[in-house]
C-alpha cells in the first residue's frame, strides 16, 4: 500500500467521523504545560525567546529593533520549533507485515492508517503532531502529508521526550516497556489469527524475522497453550502501559478501524 493511498484512506477515515472531529476541536486542553496559548490559524511564527545570533542563522529573523539597543544581535527563536505536543510512534518490526488472509490488511497497514487518522484529527484541532524519531512537531494542513511521507521513507528528528506519546504496534516482544510521559496511550494491534490460532493439521510455522521454523503434526494440540501465552503477552503489555501511566488499548485487524480511533480519542480525553 503506497503512502499516498494510505493518506487518502486516513483522511477518509477521519472525515467519516464528523462527531469525533467536532469533539477533537476540544482536544486543546490535553496540552502539556507551557505549550498552550496558541490559537488556530496563527501558528508557526509565535515568538518564544531571544537568543544570540549565531553564524548560520537566518538573518531575516534578527530582531533589528532590539539589537539596535545594544551591541548584540538578538535572534528571534520561535516557540513551536522546540516543543512537540503529541508524538505518534510506530513500533516497526518485521512481524507487522503480516495478515492471515488476503481480505485483511497487514498489521502495519492498519497501524499506519490509525496513526494518520489520529494525526488528521489532531491537526484539525490545531494540535502539533510529531512522528516520534522521524519528524519535528508539525502543524497545519501540510503536516499530514509530511507525516505520511516520513512513515513511508523514514526520517530522523529529535523528539521532545516530554511530549505525550501514542504508540502503535503489535508488541509481541517479551517484557515490553513503554518509556514515555504519562497521559499517552499504547495501541496493540494483532491479527485475528494471532489471537485465535485457527490452525490445524501438519503445519510448518515460519517467522518473519529469521526465526527457525517450527513444525507440528497436529496444530490443534498447541491451541490451548498458545492462547495462554498470547493472553499473558497481552496482559504484559497492559501492565507495562499502566506502569508508565499510559492507557492500554487493543485492536484486531478484522475490527473496524473507527472503533479503535474512538477508543484512542477517549483515552486522550480521559488523560
Amino acid at each position: 500500500m503506497t503512502a499516498a493511498r494510505t493518506l487518502v484512506q486516513a483522511e477518509a477515515l477521519a472525515s467519516g467521523l464528523p462527531k469525533l472531529i467536532l469533539a477533537a476541536e476540544r482536544l486543546a486542553f490535553i496540552a502539556a504545560p507551557g505549550l498552550h496559548g496558541r490559537r488556530r490559524g496563527g501558528g508557526g511564527d509565535s515568538f518564544w525567546q531571544f537568543r544570540d545570533w549565531q553564524n548560520g542563522d537566518d538573518a531575516k529573523r534578527i530582531d533589528w529593533r532590539r539589537s539596535a539597543q545594544g551591541d548584540r544581535l538578538y535572534f528571534r527563536e520561535r516557540e513551536w520549533e522546540a516543543q512537540a505536543a503529541i508524538a505518534l510512534a510506530l513500533d516497526d518490526t518485521p512481524g507487522l507485515n503480516f495478515s492471515s488472509h488476503k481480505s485483511l490488511p497487514t498489521k502495519r497497514d492498519r497501524a499506519i492508517l490509525l496513526l494518520l487518522a489520529l494525526a488528521a484529527i489532531l491537526l484539525r484541532a490545531g494540535e502539533r503532531v510529531a512522528l516520534a524519531g522521524a519528524t519535528p512537531a508539525l502543524t497545519g494542513s501540510l503536516a499530514l502529508p509530511l507525516l505520511a511521507e516520513a512513515l513511508a521513507t523514514g526520517g530522523r528528528a529529535h523528539t521532545d521526550t516530554r511530549s505525550r506519546r501514542i504508540s502503535f504496534g503489535d508488541f509481541l516482544r517479551p517484557n515490553p516497556v513503554f518509556a514515555a510521559p504519562p497521559g499517552g496511550a499504547v495501541l496493540q494491534i494483532l491479527d485475528p489469527a494471532e489471537c485465535d490460532f485457527p490452525f490445524q493439521g501438519r503445519i510448518v510455522f515460519e517467522g518473519l524475522s529469521d526465526e527457525p521454523p517450527l513444525e507440528t503434526t497436529n496444530a490443534e494440540d498447541w491451541r490451548a497453550a498458545y492462547h495462554a501465552r498470547i493472553n499473558a503477552q497481552r496482559q504484559a503489555v497492559v501492565q507495562a502501559s499502566l506502569a508508565s501511566g499510559q492507557t492500554a488499548l487493543f485492536h484486531r485487524t478484522d475490527m473496524p478501524p473507527a472503533r479503535a480511533l474512538s477508543a484512542l480519542y477517549l483515552a486522550l480525553r480521559r488523560a
Partner: protein
C-alpha cells in the same frame, strides 16, 4: 474395440505399485507464516501417525495414469452400421462391368451390411444383377445366415458384361424379404431399370460417387494416327498405352471433348497392345488394340525411273490405291528395309542376289513382299518368286494374237482374296507366266478365266512372297483402274498386319477380357465374324476379348457394345465412400489423463495455499468470453462500424473511419487504433466509444440479438451514429435521390431500437464546437437534417446516445491507400470535405469527452447571472 499398441497395456501392472507408493507418501506439510512464532517455542509435541493421501486423490491419480496407459495403447472403435427394419434382409448387388471401378467399396459396404446382420441375427438373401454365365439368369440366393452369406459374397465377382436389370426384376418377383438393400454400380436409366426399381421396393440404396469409366474402341484418323475417345471419364483420368508385356509406353491426357490422339513413331505405336485409363483397372476403362486399327507402313520401290509420273508411272496408281491409313515410305530397297515396313511393294524392280537374301529375311520375319511384273523384270525374271517364272510376256488380244484379253476368274476359296467379287470389267491384256511344270496349285491366289495364274502367293517363314504377274500401272491391264485394285491391296496390307482378311469368317474367342480389363484364356466358347463386330452387343454369349485363330484376330471392346453409362435415378442413395473411419480413442484418453493430472496439480497447489481455487475459477470464467477483438479494443480506443450486406459500403466505412481515426490521433492527444468491423449481437459493443452504422436502403431488419446489443450500447453511454448515403428523392439536402427508400429503411431497421425522441440539431450544438468551430454538419452531402436526442433524453453527461444523418460522413472521410479522397462531396467539393473532416474530429471528441465544451455556449448566461 481393438488396441493398436496392446503392449502398452502391460504398464497397467504398474498401477498397484503406484497405489502403494502413493499411500506411503504423506502429503507435503502446509507452510504458514506466523509472527508470534516465539510463543510457540517449546510447546509439547504430540505424535500422530503419518497422514495418508486422501482416497479421492489416490483414485484421481490412479485414474489419470490408467487413462494415460489406455490412451497410449491406442484403442480404436469402429462404429457398427445399423440395418433398417426387421426380419430377413435382401441384398441386391450390381456386378456388371460398371461395378468393377467401385467394387472394393461395394464389397466393403456389403460386408458391413452382413456384419450388421450378424449382430442383429437376421437372415440374408443375395441377388446379383449380372447374368453369371451364358444361358443362366440372375437368381435369388438364400436366405442364409450371415456367415454363409459372407462366404457367398466373397465368391461374387464383377462380370465383364452389363447387369441384366430386366432378368433381375423377374428374379425379384418371388422375394418376400421386406428389408431390401441395393448396392448400385451407379448406372441406370431406361425402362429396364425402372422396371427393376419397381420390382425392388427399395429400403435403402448405396451408390458410388462417380460413374464408371468407359472408353470407345480406338479408330484411325485421316492421317493414320490412332485416336481414342472416352465415353465416360468421371475422374478425368489420363490414358495409358501399354505394351503386351504390361509396360507403359505412353501417357496421354484427354482434350476437353474427351479425345486423345496418339502421336508416336509407328514402330513404337504398334507396340501398344491396349489402352487403359489411369486408376483402378476396369474392363470399361480398357481397350484392346487389334491390327485393324494399327497403322501400317508400306514401302514402295520401282525399277523404272519415272515411277511417280502421273498416269504413267509404275507407282502412281499403287500409291493411291493403298488404304488411306497406310503410311508410305519410298527409297532404295535397302533404305526401305531399314524403315521396317509391314509390306513392301516392288513394281517391276529386279533384285540382286544380296537384295534377295535381305528380302528372304524380311519375309521370314513376317513381312509381305509383293512383286509386280513389268518390262524390266519380264525378260530375265530372277529366281526370287513364289513359283518359277518364264521369261517373256504373254500378249492377249494384240494385233498379232488370235486371243482376246482375258477377265478374272472368281477367287479360289483358299486365297486371301476369297470373298472379293471378280470385277468383270477388269481385262488383263499382258502378263508374264509361271512355269506350269513346277507350278504349285496351293500358291495360286488368282487366275484368269482360262486358268492362267495371275497372282501367286507363297508363305515363307511368317510372311508371304506374292507375285502379281501383271504391271502395277495401267500399261498391261486395267486392273489398277478398277475398284478391285484397292480391295486387293487392302487384303494384302491386312495380311501384312496379321488381320483376318475374310470379314465373314467366324473367329473363335481367343482370350477373354475380365471385368478388371485383364486378358485371360476363354472360359466359354464364342465366335464373332469381323463383319458382325460393329453391331455386336456384349453379353455372356459374346464376352469382350480377342477373337481369332492363328495370326489374324479382332478385338471386341466394351465401348459402343454396351449402353453408355447413365446416372442411376436413386435420389436417396448413400454414397459409397471409404468405409467409416475408425475412431481413435487414444488422443481422447491421453487428453483426459492430462486434464486429471492438471486437476491433481490444482488440488495439490490449493492444499499448500499456493493457489486459491475460487479465484482461479473466477479468473477463468472472466477470461473465457473475451475475444481477441475485445482485448484489443479494451487496450486501445477504437472506433467501430457495423458491417452491412454490401462490401463496397463496408470498405467506405473502414476507409472513412480509418482516416478519421488517423486524423483525430494527429490533431489531438487521443490515440485511436484502426476501426473495427462489428456485428451487433455477435461482437461485444461495449468497448467502442462511437459506432458508425451506414444504413443502406436495402438494409435488412436487425436480428433481436443485434437490437438488444444496440439498445444496451445506447443505454450505457455509447454513441450510435446512423448515417445514410443520401436520402429519398425530393428530401432536403444535396443527397436527395441518392438513396431512394432511405427513410423506409431507417423506419424498418430501427423499429426494434428504443430510440429516444429526436430533434434536428441546432447549428451551435456542442458538436459544432467541441474541437473546431464548424458552420454546418456536411458530409459527402449537405443540407439534410441531422437528428439527435431531445435534451430530456440526453444522458448524464449531456451526450446524445444517437445521431441520425443522411449526409454520408464516411463517404467524405474515406481516403484510399494513397491518401486520395475516394468520393467527391456534393455540391461543395473540397471545402465541404474540410468541414466534414472537422466535424468528424468534433464527433470523436464529443463521444469521448461528452459535453464539457458546452460551457462556452452557456458562458453568456453565466456572465449574465454574475451581473457582469
Amino acid at each position: 474395440m481393438i488396441f493398436a499398441a496392446p503392449l502398452a497395456l502391460l504398464a497397467l501392472a504398474l498401477l498397484p505399485m503406484l497405489y502403494f507408493i502413493l499411500r506411503l507418501t504423506p502429503p507435503e506439510p502446509q507452510r504458514q507464516r506466523f509472527p508470534p512464532i516465539a510463543l510457540l517455542q517449546d510447546l509439547p509435541e504430540t505424535q500422530h501417525p503419518p497422514r495418508h493421501i486422501p482416497p479421492w486423490l489416490l483414485l484421481l491419480r490412479l485414474g489419470a495414469l490408467a487413462c494415460l496407459i489406455l490412451g497410449l495403447a491406442a484403442p480404436t472403435l469402429r462404429p457398427p452400421p445399423a440395418l433398417p427394419g426387421t426380419g430377413p434382409v435382401l441384398l441386391v448387388l450390381d456386378n456388371g462391368w460398371a461395378s468393377a471401378a467401385a467394387w472394393p467399396q461395394m464389397l466393403q459396404t456389403a460386408k458391413n451390411i452382413l456384419t450388421a446382420a450378424r449382430t442383429q441375427n437376421r437372415a440374408i438373401a443375395i441377388l446379383t444383377t449380372a447374368i453369371p454365365a451364358a444361358g443362366d439368369v440372375p437368381e435369388l440366393q438364400g436366405p442364409f445366415d450371415a456367415a454363409t452369406a459372407l462366404q457367398i459374397l466373397s465368391a461374387i465377382q464383377p462380370e465383364p458384361w452389363p447387369a441384366d436389370r430386366k432378368a433381375a426384376a423377374a428374379a425379384l418377383r418371388g422375394a418376400d424379404e421386406t428389408t431390401r438393400l441395393y448396392i448400385s454400380d451407379g448406372t441406370g436409366g431406361g425402362p429396364a431399370f425402372q422396371t427393376f426399381l419397381t420390382a425392388l421396393h427399395l429400403t435403402s440404396a448405396f451408390k458410388p460417387a462417380t460413374l464408371p469409366p468407359l472408353l470407345a474402341p480406338p479408330a484411325l484418323n485421316a492421317s493414320g494416327n490412332l485416336t481414342l475417345h472416352a465415353i465416360s471419364n468421371p475422374l478425368n483420368a489420363a490414358l495409358l498405352g501399354e505394351s503386351a508385356g504390361g509396360d507403359i509406353i505412353t501417357r496421354m491426357a484427354f482434350d476437353p471433348s474427351g479425345n486423345a490422339t496418339l502421336d508416336l513413331p509407328l514402330p513404337i505405336a504398334n507396340k501398344i497392345a491396349k489402352f487403359v485409363l489411369d486408376g483402378p483397372p476396369t474392363a470399361g476403362g480398357t481397350v484392346i488394340v487389334d491390327s485393324s486399327t494399327r497403322a501400317s507402313l508400306a514401302a514402295l520401290d520401282s525399277g523404272s525411273a519415272n515411277a511417280d509420273s502421273p498416269f504413267l508411272g509404275t507407282l502412281y496408281f499403287l500409291r493411291r490405291a493403298l488404304p488411306q491409313t497406310t503410311k508410305i515410305i519410298t527409297g532404295s530397297f535397302e533404305q526401305i528395309l531399314a524403315g521396317k515396313p509391314a509390306t513392301i511393294f516392288l513394281a517391276d524392280s529386279p533384285l540382286s542376289p544380296a537384295q534377295q537374301a535381305l528380302a528372304k529375311n524380311f519375309i521370314a520375319g513376317g513381312g509381305i513382299l509383293v512383286r509386280f511384273a513389268g518390262p524390266l523384270t519380264s525378260e530375265t525374271p530372277d529366281a526370287f518368286s513364289a513359283d518359277t517364272l518364264l521369261s517373256g510376256e504373254r500378249h492377249l488380244g494384240g494385233a498379232l494374237s488370235w486371243t482376246t484379253p482375258e477377265q478374272l476368274a472368281p477367287f479360289p476359296a483358299t486365297s486371301p482374296f476369297a470373298g472379293l467379287a471378280a470385277d468383270p470389267k477388269v481385262i488383263i491384256s499382258q502378263q508374264i507366266l509361271a512355269d506350269p511344270t513346277t507350278l504349285d496349285p496351293a500358291t495360286i491366289w488368282a487366275t484368269l478365266h482360262d486358268g492362267t495364274p495371275l497372282i501367286l502367293g507363297k508363305p515363307m517363314g511368317h510372311g508371304y512372297l506374292v507375285n502379281i504377274l501383271t504391271s502395277a500401272n495401267a500399261d498391261w491391264s486395267n486392273l489398277p483402274l478398277s475398284g478391285l485394285y484397292p480391295a486387293i491391296l487392302a487384303r494384302l496390307s491386312s495380311l501384312g498386319q496379321g488381320s483376318p482378311v475374310n470379314p465373314n469368317l467366324a473367329l473363335p474367342l481367343q482370350s477373354e477380357l475380365d471385368a478388371y480389363g485383364t486378358l485371360s484364356p476363354p472360359g466359354v466358347t464364342a465366335s464373332l465374324t469381323p463383319a458382325r463386330r460393329g453391331s455386336a452387343a456384349i453379353s455372356p454369349t459374346l464376352p469382350p476379348g480377342l477373337y481369332g485363330n492363328g495370326p489374324g484376330f479382332i478385338a471386341l471392346n466394351l465401348g459402343f457394345h454396351v449402353q453408355p453409362p447413365v446416372p442411376a435415378n436413386l435420389p436417396n442413395a448413400t454414397p459409397l465412400g471409404a468405409p467409416a473411419p475408425p475412431r481413435n480413442l487414444g488422443p481422447l484418453l491421453v487428453a483426459l489423463s492430462l486434464a486429471l493430472l492438471l486437476l491433481d496439480l490444482a488440488f495439490s497447489l490449493a492444499s499448500r495455499r499456493v493457489l486459491r481455487l475460487r479465484r482461479l475459477g473466477l479468473v477463468t470464467a472472466l477470461a473465457l468470453p473475451f475475444t481477441a477483438h475485445a482485448q484489443s479494443a479494451a487496450l486501445q480506443t477504437e472506433l467501430g462500424y457495423i458491417v452491412t450486406n454490401n462490401p463496397a459500403t463496408d470498405q467506405i466505412s473502414a476507409d472513412g473511419l480509418g482516416y478519421l481515426s488517423a486524423n483525430v490521433s494527429a490533431h489531438s492527444s487521443i490515440q485511436l487504433g484502426a476501426p473495427v468491423a462489428l456485428n451487433p449481437g455477435k461482437d461485444d459493443l461495449s468497448f467502442y466509444p462511437l459506432i458508425y452504422w451506414p444504413l443502406l436502403p436495402s438494409a435488412p431488419v436487425p436480428s433481436p440479438a443485434a437490437c438488444d446489443a444496440l439498445n444496451t450500447y445506447m443505454k450505457y453511454g455509447g454513441l450510435l451514429v446512423i448515417d445514410m448515403p443520401g436520402s429519398d428523392p425530393g428530401a432536403a439536402g444535396s443527397g436527395a435521390g441518392f438513396a431512394p427508400g432511405a427513410s423506409a429503411a431507417f423506419t424498418r431497421a430501427t423499429a426494434c431500437l428504443n430510440l429516444p425522441p429526436l430533434e434536428a440539431i441546432s447549428p451551435d450544438n456542442v458538436l459544432a464546437r467541441s474541437f473546431y468551430i464548424i458552420p454546418d454538419y456536411s458530409g459527402r452531402f449537405t443540407g439534410a437534417p441531422v437528428l439527435i436526442a431531445t435534451p430530456p433524453a440526453l444522458d448524464a453527461d449531456g451526450v446524445t446516445p444517437i445521431i441520425v444523418s443522411q449526409n454520408d460522413w464516411a463517404g467524405a472521410w474515406a481516403r484510399d491507400a494513397s491518401g486520395e479522397p475516394e468520393q467527391t462531396p456534393l455540391p461543395g467539393a473540397e471545402d465541404q470535405r474540410v468541414v466534414a473532416d472537422r466535424f468528424g474530429i468534433n464527433l470523436v471528441i464529443y463521444a469521448l469527452t461528452g459535453s464539457y465544451k458546452s460551457s462556452p455556449n452557456a458562458a453568456p448566461a453565466l456572465l449574465d447571472k454574475l451581473g457582469q
